[in-house]
């Protein structure tokens, strides 16, 4: 038998290329292309009164300068609002280049094309833009007060207000024995991939076709958007995603202004054009996420059972709403986690500010929701002097309640129904892994030594594998190579390896015979994109279904060639053979040859399929009705709903009594993403997610001043964790298979990041003895909180 690949720690097929410098990222392409630099607004809110390019025109090597007035056709219209929603009544999107007004620092005003990037930046620096200043609106509070407006035609700075309710939350809370209110906030952070965005476009004037490379999480949708904006037939546009140096959500947003401007300029200039974002540009013109303020009211009983929960929150979406309401909708629904309050009401207001737009960053609204719900659980435990794990256990949805319908609508427009999960089992594993029950003694011993240590935990449920669909194409070449393509894109998750494992198992071939392509519209035209931890679920299922079709065809052809019954055949190591009689066999490569009836023997292998080779039944056509030449197939996977992964994190922290420095001593993860295709890759995803969770909890924030300047727009000032800040992570897996897809898998990409702030806040609270209601938290902020909570009011050590 071929060794089963599914579930194995198969080393990544991507790696030899990437470690030896043979990757092809965006800026590794098009060395001779014309280079682009942008003039971006240095002001958060202003009217543009004049753009003077005179001084720039003398720069040697300048090719073109474009402003809004140069844009023609649909390029002069605002960029698309990607995900409309009935309540998004005041959606606004930017123009590719500012049309008379700028609404955040970093908004593109002029595009400079030159012979190289240095020259383009020289020219950009000589363009003088004059402004009439408008008052900037910065932060949730200023947006909510609405003394000043971001868009003068949007009253109250409110783009949308959306409410969902199941049961009667107000009445349930009022009737509860115990009630409380909390105000909880999370600040802005950002995906911050190591490679920023970039676009390279080539126009073939003879063929009237456009080839675009862009560092994106969705090549198929960028293709459609470019064709629409540039009024080109879609079949004249192809988008090929090169290696992508990380995405984490920011590259699912599209089309970025540059993704339509660079191709537009390439066509106008008849030359290849390339733009590569620099780090400051990424900070001030690519998307952020997470900034929300939540007011929470809840009622519970003496056993710690959450009865009624009402949450109102204000979401800062920045200057425009191209990605709709996805982030706050996810917060509002995924906030519930593994719990089942009897009544739940949630209402959010999505607010304009004069800051960079907000679109999903890994976790996408879930870290905020998890923070809110887990703070509620910790509050109840503290109030009733109950063990925090026990309170959670008393509120869990039980395994026999699956599938569990929350009575809400999820981010995909479909009912929020959990398909599977065993939360009590996950909690038991976590308590065992971290030594929950033993910790009190350790904490007390540490306190006797004058040390402050605390433990925290947090639970989450993550809807993964969001639709509508993905597809796969599988072909066995006549040399036995299996080529696979799927339309969504890859940013480092090891999709080539993971998909090769699935196809290798289905077709009985080793991983090194499978070649996987993602994100190339020349190879696969119908796809959605990579977001919402969906690739293993969606494309994994699609290529599995496709490979099964190809396998069935291979067996049918082989049965004919071997004069055997299909039911008696198996595929082992790339050979179709009769079970129990392996001498009767035929290579998959030969089956591929035979699948394509030929007139011409273009190589030796092809001779077997030619018309005088003596195999054909002269009474039948060479290709049967309903059949197709070639050993290949295409299929799609489109589920009725998302599949819900879950996990629980526990963290032990120590806070310095003098400096308030916060150190993570241990970080434990129990993770349930259904059946695991490659544990090594899944653990790597969890590690990376936890690192971003730690960053979001303790270090990272977008520091806007009152005038709308992002004052920490560099890696020197925006504190992403180095190796010294990320603890070793201990992981245990529970596998409750999803009943929704052929592989039983659930998504794993975002999981690690979701409960970071919630778990770390819980641990700091345990160490310090006073509530933590805002994250991230710095040593200075903790120090200030200590001053507000003098020792006598703290829980006795």
């Amino acid at each position: 038998m071929t060794t089963k690949l599914f579930g194995q720690r198969v080393p990544r097929v991507e790696d030899p290329r990437l470690v030896s410098g043979q990757g092809r990222y965006l800026d590794d392409l098009g060395h001779d292309a014309l280079a682009v630099a942008f003039v971006r607004s240095p002001h958060a809110h202003a009217r543009i009164t004049d753009i003077d390019v005179t001084a720039a025109l003398d720069v040697d090597g300048l090719v073109a300068i474009y402003t809004y007035d140069d844009l023609d056709g649909r390029m002069a219209e605002p960029l698309p609002l990607l995900i409309p929603h009935p309540t998004l009544t005041q959606g606004r999107t930017p123009y590719p280049l500012a049309n008379g007004e700028v609404n955040h620092v970093g908004e593109a005003i002029a595009m400079v094309v030159a012979t190289d990037r240095y020259v383009a930046e020289d020219a950009a620096g000589l363009i003088e833009v004059s402004y009439d200043f408008l008052p900037p609106v910065v932060g949730v509070e200023a947006a909510r007060e609405a003394v000043d407006l971001v868009h003068e035609d949007v009253p109250g700075n409110v783009a949308a207000t959306y409410m969902q309710e199941t049961g009667d939350a107000a009445a349930t809370i009022a009737a509860a024995a115990l009630r409380a209110r909390l105000q909880l906030s999370i600040e802005r952070s950002a995906s911050m991939p190591m490679e920023g965005k970039g676009v390279h476009a080539r126009w073939d004037d003879d063929d009237k076709s456009l080839l675009v490379n862009t560092s994106t999480q969705t090549s198929t949708s960028v293709r459609q958007a470019i064709a629409a904006k540039l009024s080109l037939p879609v079949d004249r546009v192809e988008v090929v995603t090169p290696d992508v140096g990380g995405g984490f959500g920011v590259k699912i947003m599209h089309p970025w202004p540059e993704e339509v401007l660079v191709p537009w300029a390439a066509i106008r200039l008849g030359a290849p054009v390339k733009w590569v974002e620099d780090r400051r540009e990424h900070f001030i013109s690519s998307a952020h996420e997470r900034g929300q303020l939540h007011e929470v009211e809840f009622g519970y009983d003496e056993d710690g059972v959450l009865l009624g929960l009402s949450v109102e929150f204000w979401h800062d979406h920045g200057a425009y709403t191209p990605y709709g309401l996805i982030v706050p909708i996810i917060t509002s629904t995924q906030l519930l986690g593994p719990y089942k309050p009897r009544a739940y009401r949630v209402e959010f207001h999505s607010l304009y500010t004069n800051t960079v737009i907000v679109t999903p960053y890994r976790g996408a609204g879930r870290p905020q929701g998890c923070f809110v719900m887990e703070r509620v659980m910790d509050y109840i435990a503290r109030d009733l002097d109950l063990d925090r794990a026990v309170v959670r256990e008393r509120n869990f949805i039980q395994p026999d309640e699956m599938p569990y319908d929350h009575g809400l609508i999820f981010q995909d427009g479909r009912p929020l129904i959990y398909d599977s999960g065993d939360f009590p089992a996950s909690m038991a594993m976590l308590k065992s892994l971290v030594g929950w029950d033993e910790f009190v003694a350790q904490r007390d011993a540490a306190r006797r030594e004058g040390r402050r240590v605390g433990i925290g935990l947090a639970c989450y449920v993550e809807g993964t594998g969001v639709g509508p669909y993905e597809g796969g194409h599988v072909r066995v070449e006549t040399d036995g190579t299996v080529v696979v393509s799927t339309g969504l894109t890859t940013q480092g998750q090891g999709h080539q390896t993971m998909l090769a494992q699935i196809v290798g198992d289905e077709l009985g071939v080793p991983v090194d015979r499978v070649r996987v392509t993602t994100g190339d519209t020349r190879r696969f035209k119908y796809a959605v994109g990579t977001f919402a931890s969906r690739t293993a679920v969606m494309s994994g299922s699609a290529v599995a279904l496709t490979a099964r079709k190809v396998r069935a065809k291979a067996l049918r052809i082989a049965a004919d060639a071997l004069e055997a019954s299909v039911d008696d055949l198996e595929i082992v190591d790339g050979r179709v053979q009769v079970k129990g009689s392996p001498s009767a066999q035929i290579d998959l490569s030969t089956v591929a040859v035979l699948s394509n009836p030929l007139r011409y023997a273009f190589d030796d292998a092809a001779r077997r399929a030619t018309q005088f080779a003596g195999r054909a039944d002269p009474t039948k056509p060479p290709v049967d009705p309903g059949d197709e030449p070639g050993l290949e197939g295409t299929d799609y996977y489109s589920p009725t709903q998302s599949t819900f992964a879950n996990g629980m994190h526990a963290v032990i922290v120590e806070t310095d009594p003098e400096t308030a420095e916060i150190k993570i001593l241990r970080y434990c993860v129990v993770h349930d993403c259904g059946t695991v295709i490659n544990p090594m890759i899944v653990e790597g995803q969890v590690h990376g997610g936890v690192a971003q969770g730690v960053g979001g909890a303790l270090y990272e924030r977008m520091e806007y001043d009152a005038s709308g300047q992002l004052v920490n727009a560099s890696f020197m000032d925006f504190l992403m964790p180095y190796a010294s800040e990320v603890p070793s992570i201990e992981i245990d897996h529970l596998q409750t298979p999803s009943p929704l897809n052929p592989l039983g898998v659930k998504g794993a990409g975002e999981a690690g990041v979701i409960p970071g702030s919630a778990a770390i806040a819980s641990a700091i609270e345990d160490a310090e003895g006073f509530p933590i209601t805002a994250m991230p938290i710095s040593p200075s902020e903790l120090f200030a909180l200590r001053a507000e909570h003098p020792a006598p009011s703290r829980r006795a050590p």
Binding site: G21, M194, E195, G245, G684, M720, S728
Partner: protein, 172 residues
């Protein structure tokens, strides 16, 4: 505003290369766009992330903080040069694959050069020393745990190789 080109010679991964560059051209751009060795990546252009780290006369340097003209005459090693003599994966590169120490791979070349230089001075590091050695490089994908493991694994591979060479009577 025509820029004066300067002729420089670099030994890039053992091969002498003559380049003609303006005085302001960054070493990272010269390596990537003039010499067309694109394994060296640029993540921040302000010397913080470490993705562009190359070895200049054996020392790890941020090539985005050096002008190409200031590297005239230097021997430079990039990740493309961290392979074995026969072009296979070098010890650090192999360790990165063994330990799943990379995901998107964008920061990886800077880690590989940094660790290659580190193991020259400390061929048998502890886990703490391994973590310290990579403390100046940013990675957004891996959470560093597997990179720390890869430092230790690379040291092990190097020791096994030099032991093998010793047994075969070849110079280590």
């Amino acid at each position: 505003m025509t820029e004066t080109p300067h002729d420089i010679t670099l030994t890039l991964n053992g091969t002498p290369r003559r380049l003609s560059v303006p005085a302001r051209r960054l070493l990272s751009d010269a390596i990537r766009h003039d010499a067309r060795l694109t394994g060296t990546h640029v993540g921040c252009e302000h010397g913080v992330c470490g993705a562009c780290t190359v070895l200049v006369d054996g020392q790890p340097m941020r090539s985005c903080l050096m002008f190409a003209v200031s590297a005239d005459g230097a021997e430079i090693t990039t990740t493309e040069g961290c392979t074995t003599a026969t072009g296979g994966l070098g010890p650090v590169q192999q360790a990165f694959r063994d330990c799943h120490a990379l995901q998107c791979g964008f920061c990886t070349p800077g880690f590989i050069t940094t660790i290659t230089a580190f193991l020259e001075t400390n061929p048998d590091p502890t886990e703490d020393e391994a973590r310290e050695a990579i403390g100046g490089n940013l990675c957004r994908c891996t959470g560093y745990q597997n990179i720390v493991a890869a430092v230790l694994r690379a040291a092990q591979i190097q020791r096994e190789q030099s032991q093998l060479q010793g047994e075969q009577g070849q110079p280590a």
